[in-house]
Each structure stands twice: as C-alpha cells, then as structure tokens.
Assembly symmetry: C2
Homo-oligomer: 236 residues x 2
C-alpha cells in the first residue's frame, strides 16, 4: 500500500459579499432574486463584476469565483479515490476560513444547489445530514493555510502544483512521492482564476511542480493528480 | 503522430422546457427570475423536479440535467488536447439536436453564463463572436446520433464508454486504439445521470468499454480519456 493523500484547494476565491459593496445594485438585485440577505450571498464575479471593479476590492482579481471552487470539488469528489475514502479534501479560503468535508459527501453538480449549500455553510458554519445529524461539511473561521497544514493535516510532504514549479508530469510527481507507506502527501492546488500562490503559502511547500507545458485550470490538475494516485494505489 | 480524435456527448440531457410543463409554477417562476419566456429556458431538474414528476415526462430520468453537460464540456474544453485543436467535441441531445463547437472555444465555468449561452443557442441556433462574427457554437435540429456519426464525424472506430462495456482502463483503451495515424477514434460518453445508452445508440458502437471497476460520471471519463490521449500524442 502506498502512503496517505490529502488535497488542499488554497486561497480559494470563495467568500460572502463583503460589507463594502453590499449596497451596490448588482449585489442587491442578486440577493433579492435568491431571497437572501445581501451579506449572506456568495461574492460572484459573474454577477458582481461592476461592484467589484467600481469599489476596488483588495486583490479583487483573486476573489469572487465560487464557480472555480465548485468545479474543483466536483472533479475531486467524483473520483473513485474520494468515493473509497482514500483522499481527504480541504478548502482554505482567501479570508482564512477552513472548510472540512465528511466522508462520502456528494457535492451537487447543479450550481444552484451548491450555491445554496455554501450560503448555508457560511451562515451556520456546519451542514448536517438531515436524517442522522452527521456532520457533512464544516467551516472554521480564522484558520490560516499554515495553521491548517501544520496543526490539522500534518503531511510529511507538502507539494504545491503551480505553473512556476519544477517542470514535471502528474505521473512523475505522484509516482516519485506517493510510494512509501509512511508518506502522507498533501497536494496543494490554487482555488483562484490565474496568477500564483501568495508568498505566505508557497514558502511552506516542500516541493513545487508544474505538471505539463501548459497552464492548467485547477480542476484539470486535480483530476490528473488524483487519477495518477489511483494508479499508484492500484485501484484498477 | 497518432490518429485523430473526436468526443461525442450522446443522449445529452439538454433541452428547453417542453410545452407540456410550461404552465407549471416552478417553470413560470424560474423563467420570470431569468427574465425569459418559459419556453426558452433550459429544462433543469434542480428547479423543475416537481413539474417533471407530476406531469410524467417520457424518459424523464434521462432529461433536464444541463449541469451534467456543463461540467462535461468544462472537463473536455480545459484540456491541452482541446486547446491545441487536437480533439473535436460534439453534443447529441435526447431530442436529436446536434451541437458543434468552434476551435478554441472557452466555455464559461459560471453556470449562470453557460445557461444564458445555451438559451441563446437554442433560440438563435448559432452563437457568434461579437468582434469578428466567427461561428462559436452551432445547433442543428433533427440530426440523430446515427446521422451525426455516419455523415459528419465519420470515424474509423466508434468507441462507447459504458459501465456495461468490456472491462478495461482508460490507458489501455486509448493506447490500443489511437496508435495508427490512419485511425480516427470517436469516443462516446453518455450525457445523462445514470443508466445506459439506448439500444439505438449502443448498436452503432464498434467497441464498448468500461474504464475501471467503479461507475464513473461523464466528466471523469472525459478527463481520463483525453488525458490518456495527450500521453499518446506526447503532449508533454
């Protein structure tokens, strides 16, 4: 048997609408359509672009992309590796919120349902199974990426996947790091649209790799890394 | 160089709301929220479940899942294989509509934007680049899967991916079929939530494979097959 696996979606562009833009018409209309308080809805560039630009949100280019997190989670949670409980998945957001997922979670493919789930999660901090009350998803405030890695996940190897890492392939990265039973590899993927990890995060990586000659979106990196992990685990 | 590649998402659960349920409150409310005529909006089980069940749509279990098609297209169109124009992608819907995609198309990851694009496509039959008027997406009515394959795609090998196919792996399927320059492999993936291809479609397959011991969602099959194609093409 090979080592253990964690996957962290870091600097995730997932947050509720910040107070500074809450009165903008694009935010108010969107909240009204959803039947929610404007402060409860997820910041989303598809709807709030004008507000985000006009009001100059700090690091705005890295924020308001719940669609990226949704697609990344779908890619991760549809794999046999996740369905067999062989990978733990974490989201660490731009606002230092850490999200924890229970085993066998089915993330909805419908964005409408995902959006509802996230609004509930950010408000209630926990989503429970309505039948047996088991915790499905949990959110903790004020948990930095560094704290999450060092005190919760505690991997033996923290491996960042980034365009500016050492040129390699998903196959090589996984086969060279996941071989020994004693290894716990945590793979870190960016949950933002473009650009690189902040220095605060990348400085913690034990290794940084770029898997391929092309710039790849987060969900593609996740799909390929987890697929190669399954091969190493001989899930076939 | 290896052979040519096409990908067909077949029996895709993508259609506008059928007339028989257009007066149901869930449809009318959804259309009103979108500011559209109810007959223009996409049938979506997340919103119209009650209407679909109450009014007993034929083969309802295979219909109204635009989210599945959205995620499948994101998985396909984010690959270097597609970005380098090395795979052609087609959607063949449950209602015999064929959808054709231009090269270098960027499909929006935001479902809100994708939904708008599909509503426009089903109404106008074509989406053009607003700058140079080039055709980005085109829809043709009354094109069966059989016609699309035999008269448009014309592959040398039609390969269905289905749970009830011969047990194999993505790696083996691709490496055994995509080796020769003269081969044009069309991979067919189901665009519906569960169950199997209809007999009308599966009877056209030259080969049927199941890639792995587990039931896999469409976007996972697409991600793995195209990734293995890239390896055969030595894109790294």
């Amino acid at each position: 048997m090979a080592g253990a696996i964690s996957l962290v979606i870091a600097e995730a562009a997932l947050e509720t609408v910040p107070e500074s833009i809450v009165t903008h018409p694009s935010v108010r209309n969107h909240a009204s359509n959803l039947g929610r308080n404007p402060l409860e809805i997820m910041l989303d560039r598809s709807y709030h672009h004008a507000a985000m630009e006009r009001l100059g949100l700090k690091s705005g280019w890295k924020r308001g992309r719940p669609d990226i997190i949704h697609v990344a989670l779908i890619a991760a949670m549809s794999t046999p590796l996740f369905l067999k409980n062989l990978v733990r998945i974490y989201v660490s957001t731009v606002k230092d919120k850490a999200i924890f997922f229970g085993e066998n979670l089915r993330i909805p493919k419908s964005y409408f349902r995902f959006e509802g789930l996230m609004m509930d999660l950010f408000r209630e901090k926990v989503i429970r199974n309505s039948q047996n009350n088991a915790t499905l998803i949990q959110l903790q405030d004020n948990v930095t990426f560094g704290y999450l890695v060092k005190n919760v996940i505690k991997p033996t190897k923290l491996i960042g996947l980034t365009k500016i890492g050492i040129q390699s392939t998903a196959e090589k990265v996984v086969s060279s790091h996941l071989s020994k039973n004693s290894d716990h590899c945590a793979f870190v993927i960016g949950g933002f649209p473009r650009g690189h990890f902040s220095q605060e995060i990348s400085s913690l990586f034990d290794y940084s790799y770029s898997i391929g000659k092309f710039s790849l979106e987060s969900h593609v990196v996740i799909a390929r890394i987890l697929y190669e992990c399954e091969k190493t685990y001989s899930l076939y």
